[in-house]
Amino acid sequence: MRGQRSTVWIATAAAIVSLLMAALAQWQETGVAAGGDRWFASLCLAVYFVGAVGVIVLGVGYGRLLGVVTSIAARFLAPPSALDRPHGSGTSNALTEAVDAHLADGDRTVRHLREELQDLQVRSRLSERQKRHVEAILYSLRDAVLVVDGSDRLLMANEPAAKLLGFDAAHACHEPLAEIIGRTHAEFVELLRQSRCNRTEATKRELVFTQGDRPRAFEAIISCVQEDGKTSGVVAVLHDVTKEKEVAQMKNDFVSHVSHELKTPLASITAYSEMLADGEAGDEETRKEFYAVIQNQAQRLNRLIEDILNISRIESGLIKVKKEQASLTILIEEQMQMIRSYAEEKNITVTSGQPIVYDQVHVDKDMISQVIINLLSNAVKYTPAGGHVTVGTEVDEAARLVRVTVTDTGVGIPEDEMGHLFEKFFRVSANNKQAKGTGLGLNLAKQIVEKVHDGRMFVTSKVGVGSTFGFELPLATAEQAAAV
């Protein structure tokens, strides 16, 4: 560009010099040849001079125009910072500045739009990621979760919700909830509708749903999604509280049972000691009898507390176990001796079968004795007068274990209650009326046999015929026997 402009200036200067030279030549020729027509020669010189001035003006104007055009072209072709600004002034400068400003504005707008686009893209990615997170959380929850929009149409539901409420999550989306589950779960649908209408932030309600054939209790937490003062949707979380309620009920039953069982011997102790203190036991014999009752009931209280503590210790793994070599026949015989007086009171016979040859077990003797006495006392307790209780033992050589059975001719246990027999404080409903008991004995026996001695408890029963309770224990190994 600079080269072109210089060429223009040189051409302009050459034209002016040529015109001036031509004027001078004309003036000299006219003056010398005509010899006196000086007026005409002066006129020619003036015309040439005006022509030269015009060429100068045109040259300058063209030069400036060329500069402006060059500048504009440069602006288009190169970034503004890289451009050599013309040092001219006046109209061309103003034009350049206006064009520059306009281009800068456009550039800023483009930059701004580009930034906004990037921002939107980032937000969109974040939003998509958050949605995936929410979905991942939703689908990994065990609780049933479903979301409806402001018109009670299903927006989202996880698998537990679909399973609980009985619909196909893949095909139910955007369908009105009332159409999906309205017939089967009208109460729940109505609860969602009411929460949305009332704009309740969070409602808690306990609802019962049937899963399989079993009614299950659910805590429903309904939260409304507010947007610009309107409810745009409702989120419902259904948490299964059946187990919690059962545990709470078991705790209540436990406390109730324990307090009842503790209070019974305590009632005797309190009453007899008050009678003694008030001098109501008139003679020495009566006083002795009262002391014996108090002692007896205190021992009963102690046994009960020990049972409860032992169960707790076994469950928590804190019980101290002292295993040693023992003859199972001797342990059984000792406990049979203890139960005989009670059985005779009820006119029940207690007998044992053929003794086994090898009866060595590696056990905690006190614990296994407790198991045997629990089974024997239950058998006597629930057998009507005149009945029989038989204790049997047999060895399974192949399995290297010994099996003990206590069979009675008692009332038997209904089939539907068999599965609960070893639960804490469970008592067969018919037995509740027949005899007293804590409902701890069988649970303790099972814990001792299975948790402490790696054995197995079992039971068979028929109502009106009788029951057989038993347990299996591993026989002592040769090493254990040799260690004695």
Binding site: S259, L266, A267, S268, T270, A271, E274, M275, E280, K436
Partner: protein
């Protein structure tokens, strides 16, 4: 003539101590160790008052009272309920069954005696009026 008290409890020691306390104070005592036996005795012996445990074999204390209230021979006999389960019987239940008093185990024989005396005294007053 001595007032007759029927004591029903499956804890033989409780029957024994209550019987001694009452006999020492001039009452005649008859005893049963389950609800069914208590109901039979109540029908036959027509005691002036019944003291019964809440939880008994064959027939619970509540079942005994319900059955007594349904029977013309026993419907007006006052009943004292002994229970080791403090919240087993609500006030409404007591009223609807016509339980005169409910004592929690462990109980004081003196308190039981006083309760029996009060109930029988109120009853005598009511009869005189």
């Amino acid at each position: 003539m001595a007032n007759k008290v029927l004591v029903a409890d499956d804890e033989i020691h409780i029957i024994h101590v209550v019987a001694i306390k009452l006999r020492n104070n001039g009452y005649e005592v008859i005893a049963a160790n389950n609800g069914l036996e208590a109901y039979d005795l109540a029908c036959r012996e027509k005691p002036d008052i019944v003291v019964t445990d809440y939880q008994m074999p064959l027939m619970t204390g509540i079942e005994l009272i319900t059955k007594m209230r349904e029977d013309e021979r026993t419907k007006d006999i006052p009943v004292i309920l002994l229970t080791a389960r403090s919240f087993a019987v609500t006030q409404e239940q007591q009223e609807s069954l016509g339980v005169s008093s409910c004592l929690s185990k462990p109980f004081s024989p003196k308190e039981l005696l006083k309760t029996i005396q009060d109930i029988l005294y109120q009853r005598q007053l009511a009869v005189k009026c």
